[in-house]
C-alpha cells in the first residue's frame, strides 16, 4: 500500500474516533445529575434567572439539539464560552496548551534519552552485572506510575535536597512579558537564558515523573530488540570488519532494532500526555491538565468538552504521526 492511501485511511479512521469522543464527552457531562447553572448562581436567584442563564448557554434545548449546535460550532472553530471563566473556550485551551506541550515534549525527550541510554548500556555490557542492574531498575520504574514518581521526587528533590522548585511553571518575580505561551522556546529565542534555567528548574521534576515509566518501557523494549538484532548475520559480518562493538551497536543494530520501540513509544506517549493532568496538578504547573481539573470541579461543561477534544486531537495526531513515521522509516514498506 502506498503512503498516501495509508495516510487517507488512517485520517478517516481518526475522524470517526474523534467524533466518537465528542459524542461521549458531550453525553456524559449532560445525562448525569448535577446542574451547572445552579452552581454559578448566587443564593437567592429567582427561577427566571435560571431560565435566562440556561437559554444563554443553550442548556434549555434537548440534548441532541444542543449537540448539533455545539458540534456545528466546533467544526467552525467555536467551542463555546467557558461558564466559570466567561471567555471563549478555544482561546483558553490554546492559551494553556503550550505549557502542557512543552512539559510533555520535555518528558518525552527525557524518556528517550534515559531509556535509550539504559538500553544501549545494557546491550554494550550484556551478560554482566550492569545489565542485571539496569533490568531491575527498569522493572521498578515501570511498576510505579507517574503520580507516585511525582510525589517521591517532591520528597527527594523538593524537601530532602531542595534542588528544584516544587510548584508552578516559573518564579513569579521573573515575569518576562512573554509574547507567546511557549515560554521555554521564547526564552531561548530571546536569549534570556536565566529565564530558561528557571523554567527548566520548574519543569524538571514533573517532566521526570512523567518520563520515568516511559523510559523504563523504552529501555526494556529497545534492549530486547537490540539483543535480538545483535545476533543477526549482518551484525556478525560487520563485527568481522574491524568495527568497535559500540559502533556495531549504533550503526548496524540500532536502526533496525528501533522500529518496534518507536511504535510502542507513540502509544505510550499518549499515556504520558494523559498523565500531565494529574502531574500538573501535583506540581501546580499552569497547563491544560490543571485547568481541566478546575473545569471539572466548576462543572464548566463547555470548557471540559473543549479540553477533552483537545487531548483527543493530540492523542490521535500522535498515533497518526507514529504510523506514518513507521512506514517512512521501514525501507521495505517505503519501497513496496
Amino acid at each position: 500500500m502506498d503512503l498516501l492511501a495509508r495516510f487517507l485511511i488512517r485520517l478517516f479512521s481518526t475522524a470517526i474516533t474523534l467524533f466518537g469522543v465528542a459524542v461521549i464527552v458531550f453525553t456524559v457531562v449532560r445525562v448525569v445529575p448535577g446542574n451547572p447553572i445552579a452552581m454559578m448562581l448566587p443564593p437567592g436567584a429567582t427561577p427566571a434567572d435560571i431560565v435566562r442563564l440556561k437559554a444563554l448557554y443553550g442548556l434549555d434545548k434537548s440534548i441532541p439539539q444542543q449537540f448539533v449546535i455545539w458540534f456545528w460550532g466546533v467544526l467552525h472553530g467555536d467551542f463555546g464560552t467557558s461558564i466559570s471563566l466567561r471567555q471563549p473556550v478555544l482561546g483558553l485551551v490554546l492559551g494553556r496548551l503550550p505549557a502542557t506541550l512543552e512539559l510533555a515534549t520535555m518528558a518525552l525527550v527525557m524518556a528517550i534519552l534515559i531509556g535509550g541510554a539504559s538500553a544501549l548500556t545494557a546491550v554494550r555490557f550484556r551478560g554482566t552485572q550492569i545489565e542485571t542492574g539496569i533490568d531491575v531498575a527498569n522493572g521498578a520504574a515501570l511498576s510505579i506510575p507517574d503520580f507516585l514518581w511525582g510525589l517521591l521526587l517532591i520528597i527527594f528533590f523538593g524537601v530532602l535536597i531542595p534542588l528544584f522548585s516544587i510548584s508552578g511553571r516559573i518564579s513569579p518575580d521573573l515575569q518576562l512579558n512573554f509574547e507567546t505561551q511557549f515560554y521555554l522556546i521564547e526564552s531561548i529565542v530571546r536569549l534570556r537564558f536565566d529565564v530558561t534555567a528557571n523554567l527548566l528548574a520548574h519543569m524538571f521534576m514533573p517532566a521526570l515523573a512523567l518520563a520515568l515509566p516511559l523510559a523504563a518501557i523504552i529501555g526494556q523494549l529497545l534492549k530486547q530488540s537490540l539483543k535480538e538484532t545483535m545476533e543477526l548475520d549482518y551484525v556478525t559480518l560487520a563485527r568481522t570488519k574491524g568495527y568497535s562493538e559500540t559502533r556495531v551497536i549504533l550503526r548496524e543494530a540500532l536502526r533496525n532494532a528501533i522500529l518496534p520501540t518507536l511504535t510502542l513509544t507513540g502509544v505510550q506517549f499518549t499515556f504520558l500526555i494523559g498523565g500531565t493532568v494529574i502531574v500538573e496538578r501535583l506540581f501546580s504547573y499552569e497547563g491544560l491538565g490543571n485547568m481541566a481539573i478546575d473545569a471539572v470541579v466548576n462543572r464548566d461543561l463547555p470548557l471540559i468538552q473543549g479540553i477533552v477534544i483537545c487531548f483527543a486531537v493530540i492523542f490521535t495526531a500522535v498515533n497518526l504521526v507514529v504510523d506514518l513515521t513507521y512506514a517512512a522509516l521501514n525501507p521495505r514498506l517505503r519501497h513496496a
Binding site: G127, L232, D233, Y234, V235, T236, L237, A238, R239, T240, K241, G242, Y243, S244, E245, R247, R251, E252, R255, N256, P331, R332, H335
Partner: protein, 290 residues
C-alpha cells in the same frame, strides 16, 4: 616463512559443556586455497568463527593459539584483536539474504570499512566499490550501489558480499558454504566468481563446504573434520588418489561423481562411523587427563 594463518591445538567448548572443536590444527599459507569439509555440525563454521572472533556467546576457546600473520590474536585485547582481524581477514557468509543490513544502501555497506577503518577518501572508496562490483559481473554497479538489499536477488546479494569481502584486499578470506543458500543455477556462477577473484587477487581462501566436487576444482589443500576433530590434513591431489583416513575414504566413496559440483555427500557406513567416534572419544579422554 611464517604462515598466514596457523591454528594450533585449538579447542572450543560450550561454557561448562562439551568441546565443539577438539584440538584443531590447521595451516594456511599466503595465496593458498584450503577446503574444509565435514558433515553438518562437524564444526567447520566454528573454526571460521574462531578465526574471525565471532564465536557465539555461549562458546569459548579453552585451549590453543590462532596465529594471524604470526601474532596470536587470542592474546590481544578485544578492541585490538578486532582491528587486526578486520585488516587481515574477511568473510563471505553462507546466507546472502540475511548478511546485508536491510536499512543501509549497498554502497556504504561496501565502502564504510574502507573509509572508517582504513581512512580512505570517500570518492576513492566508491570508485573501488564500482570496480569490484564490475569484477563480480554486476552490470549496473552505480545503480546497485544505491539500492537497498531487499531490492536485489539472492545471487546478486552474494556477488555484492563477495565484492565487499575483497574490498580491503584482505590476505585471508573465509568462505562459509557461500553457495548453499542459492539456486542450483546460480551456484556455479558464484563459484566461478569466487575462484576468479581469488586467482586475480592472490588471496588465501579457507573454503568451507560439504562438497568434495567443489574441493577438487577450487582447492589445493584440504582438511577433513569430524565432530570437531581434524581427521586428515592433505593435498587435494593426494586425497583423491589415496585418502589417508578410513572416514575420508568413505566420504569419497559416498560421492560417486566427485567431479560434479552438484553432487553432495551421502551417508557414511556405520562401522566407519563407530571407528571415528571411538577415535574422538579417545582424544577426549586424553584431553581430560591433561
Amino acid at each position: 616463512m611464517t604462515a598466514l594463518l596457523e591454528i594450533e591445538n585449538l579447542s572450543v567448548a560450550l561454557k561448562n559443556g562439551p568441546r565443539l572443536l577438539r584440538s584443531v590444527s590447521l595451516r594456511l599459507d599466503r595465496g593458498e586455497v584450503r577446503g574444509l569439509v565435514g558433515e553438518s555440525g562437524a564444526g567447520k563454521s566454528m573454526i571460521g568463527k574462531a578465526v574471525l572472533g565471532i564465536l557465539p556467546r555461549s562458546a569459548e576457546v579453552v585451549e590453543g593459539r590462532i596465529l594471524l600473520e604470526g601474532t596470536d590474536i587470542l592474546t590481544l585485547p578485544p578492541a585490538e584483536r578486532r582491528r587486526r582481524i578486520g585488516r587481515i581477514a574477511a568473510l563471505i557468509p553462507q546466507d546472502p539474504l540475511t548478511a546485508l543490513n536491510p536499512s543501509h544502501r549497498i554502497g556504504p555497506q561496501i565502502t564504510d570499512r574502507l573509509v572508517d577503518i582504513l581512512g580512505w577518501k570517500r570518492e576513492k572508496a566508491e570508485a573501488r566499490a564500482l570496480e569490484l562490483l564490475a569484477e563480480v559481473n554486476i552490470s549496473a554497479p552505480a545503480r546497485v550501489m544505491r539500492n537497498y538489499p531487499h531490492e536485489l536477488s539472492g545471487g546478486m546479494r552474494q556477488r555484492i558480499l563477495i565484492a565487499s569481502a575483497f574490498a580491503a584486499e584482505p590476505a585471508l578470506i573465509i568462505a562459509d558454504e557461500p553457495t548453499t543458500a542459492l539456486d542450483v543455477t546460480v551456484q556455479k556462477q558464484i563459484l566461478k566468481i569466487i575462484a576468479g577473484m581469488q586467482a586475480r587477487h592472490g588471496t588465501a581462501l579457507l573454503f568451507v563446504t560439504h562438497d568434495l566436487g567443489v574441493v577438487s576444482k577450487v582447492c589445493q589443500s584440504l582438511s577433513v573434520l569430524y565432530a570437531g576433530k581434524v581427521l586428515e590434513d592433505t593435498q587435494v591431489a593426494d586425497f583423491f588418489r589415496a585418502p589417508g583416513h578410513a572416514y575420508s575414504a568413505a566420504l569419497l566413496a559416498a560421492t560417486p561423481k566427485y567431479t560434479d559440483p552438484e553432487g553432495s555427500l551421502m551417508p557414511v557406513g556405520p562401522e566407519v562411523l563407530a571407528a571415528v567416534q571411538a577415535e574422538v572419544d579417545a582424544a577426549d579422554r586424553e584431553w581430560r587427563h591433561v
